[in-house]
């Protein structure tokens, strides 16, 4: 429905000061009209249909994005802009714009814009139950935090209003937020009103009013601007702790209910080394891996390593397919006594984990090389199937907690910016 094309009757007047055209769309609901050109405010008597000059405002101080008579669809309702007011906080220098919207069926609404942040306000028919207004308030299942309270002054205006906007001078306003919503309590000398505001993206305003020019860029964080992908910090903490505990319990259950099993253990003797110091190939007995896929840890221990080193290279070979996984284990252990203190470095054992080994019979092929000064004659090799992969636990924990940590940081930054405004 096009509101300006016949469905709303427009009554036209001439400004009593500058003769500019003044329009009244709200008919009997109109109480005052302000000239957009000269800022002369008039009282409107719907009964007689006459204007009477009352006062003059200082003048427009801000560029208006919406003009009187602009039409747009917001929240599935078509509104026409009937008025505009620039207000400032009485004890501060900043100001904001409020656009008054009218729909003949749904009545009035307001659009406020500050620093490029738009909020759509509708007067509430059922007011929130006030306990202590300085504290949190619950309304329509949302928890509202007190955000700001101030007295405001009208700086400039244009269009028509259902009240004498001068009566709003020094109106006391309290704002409570639960992004993307805002509750506003406005108390003037003879009226108390509550409004429910909803944050609107600037692009939605542009599209709603079919404007080609983009609205002014946003600066900072709006009072009730919702953060994208925001999660309450308490929820983040609770979910993260539950996740970490669940992960740990899972690992413990897997560790004990599906415990690792030693499938191979053999002591090898090195009888001689070739000219390069590498032992002849040592071949192990066969052992079976019986699960569909297996995590396997190969572990070697050489007790004879003492202030020396031992390198064990080789391959884990599938008897049936011949597919081999190669490895190199380095065992080195050094110790001594220096400057009144004993020290040690390295270990007499080393191990390696193989992933996702298919079921089958396997054997090992090994080559040992040791320090020529302290040759290793014997070493132990052990193979465990179904090892507990604690590194998986830490990888999943880290990935799982990366999102809450990043979100925590984002929420902190966003909220600091919001409350710092």
């Amino acid at each position: 429905m096009d509101l300006t094309n016949g469905s709303i009757a427009i009554e036209a007047f001439a400004c009593l000061k500058c003769q500019a055209r003044l329009e009244v769309r709200t008919q009997a609901l109109c109480r005052s009209v302000v000239c957009a050109q000269c800022q002369a405010a008039h009282l409107y008597d719907a009964g007689s249909g006459k204007l009477s000059y009352k006062r003059k405002y200082r003048g427009a101080i801000a560029k208006r994005y919406l003009e009187i008579g602009d039409e747009g669809v917001l929240f599935r309702r078509r509104y026409v802009v009937v008025g505009w007011i620039a207000k400032k906080e009485s004890s501060a220098s900043y100001y904001w714009n409020e656009y008054y919207l009218f729909n003949p069926v749904h009545g009035f609404a307001q659009l406020s814009v500050y620093e490029g942040h738009w909020t759509f306000h509708e007067q509430l028919r059922v007011y929130p139950r006030e306990t202590n207004i300085n504290q949190t308030l619950i309304f329509q299942r949302n928890v509202y935090e007190p955000f700001n309270h101030y007295a405001c002054t009208v700086l400039a205006a244009a269009g028509e209003f259902t009240h004498d906007i001068h009566d709003q001078q020094e109106a006391k306003v309290r704002e409570l937020i639960s992004p993307p919503y805002m509750l506003t309590r406005e108390q003037s000398a003879d009226e108390l009103a509550w409004y429910l505001g909803t944050y609107v993206e600037p692009e939605e305003i542009r599209l709603a009013f079919n404007k080609t020019e983009k609205p002014a860029k946003r600066t900072g964080v709006g009072a009730c601007q919702p953060m994208k992908l925001a999660i309450d910090k308490k929820v983040l903490t609770t979910v993260s702790i539950v996740f970490a505990v669940l992960l740990l319990l899972t690992m413990l259950v897997l560790r004990f209910a599906d415990a690792p099993r030693t499938v191979f253990e053999q002591q090898f003797d090195i009888h001689g080394a070739g000219p390069t110091g590498v032992s002849t190939a040592l071949e192990s007995q066969s052992f079976a891996l019986d699960r569909f896929r297996n995590s396997v840890e190969l572990f070697a221990r050489a007790e004879a390593v003492d202030n020396s080193w031992f390198e064990l290279s080789g391959a884990l070979i599938n008897n049936a397919t011949g597919e081999a996984r190669s490895f190199v284990l380095n065992i080195e252990y050094y110790h001594g006594y220096e400057g009144g203190e004993s020290w040690s470095e390295g270990k007499r054992n080393d191990g390696i984990v193989f992933s996702a080994l298919p079921a089958g019979d396997y054997h090992l092929e090994l080559y040992g090389v040791s320090d020529p000064g302290r040759p290793v004659r014997t070493f132990l090799v052990q193979v465990e199937q179904n090892v507990t992969l604690w590194s998986n636990f830490f990888v999943v924990l880290l990935l799982g907690l990366a999102f809450p940590l990043i979100t925590w940081w984002r929420v902190s930054r966003f909220e600091t910016a919001r409350w710092g405004e």
Binding site: S326, F327, S355, A356, L389, N392, V396, G400
Partner: protein, 57 residues
């Protein structure tokens, strides 16, 4: 007065969904015997082809 649970909000559901997937991946990795970090899938032929081992521990 009843309030809407903060756990019912969209991003929280996505977050919990991601965590549930991570939990299932942990179980799946255990069943499959797969290690996410340095899985050591190198084959001996690869080692010969590259000339030196790149197997991690």
């Amino acid at each position: 007065m009843e309030t809407r649970s903060p756990f019912a909000r969209g991003p929280v559901r996505i977050f919990i969904g991601v965590l549930v997937m991570a939990w299932f991946s942990l179980i799946g990795a255990h069943i499959y015997g797969f290690r996410f970090f340095k899985p050591n899938l190198e084959r001996a032929e690869d080692r010969q082809a590259y000339g030196a081992t790149y197997t991690h521990k």
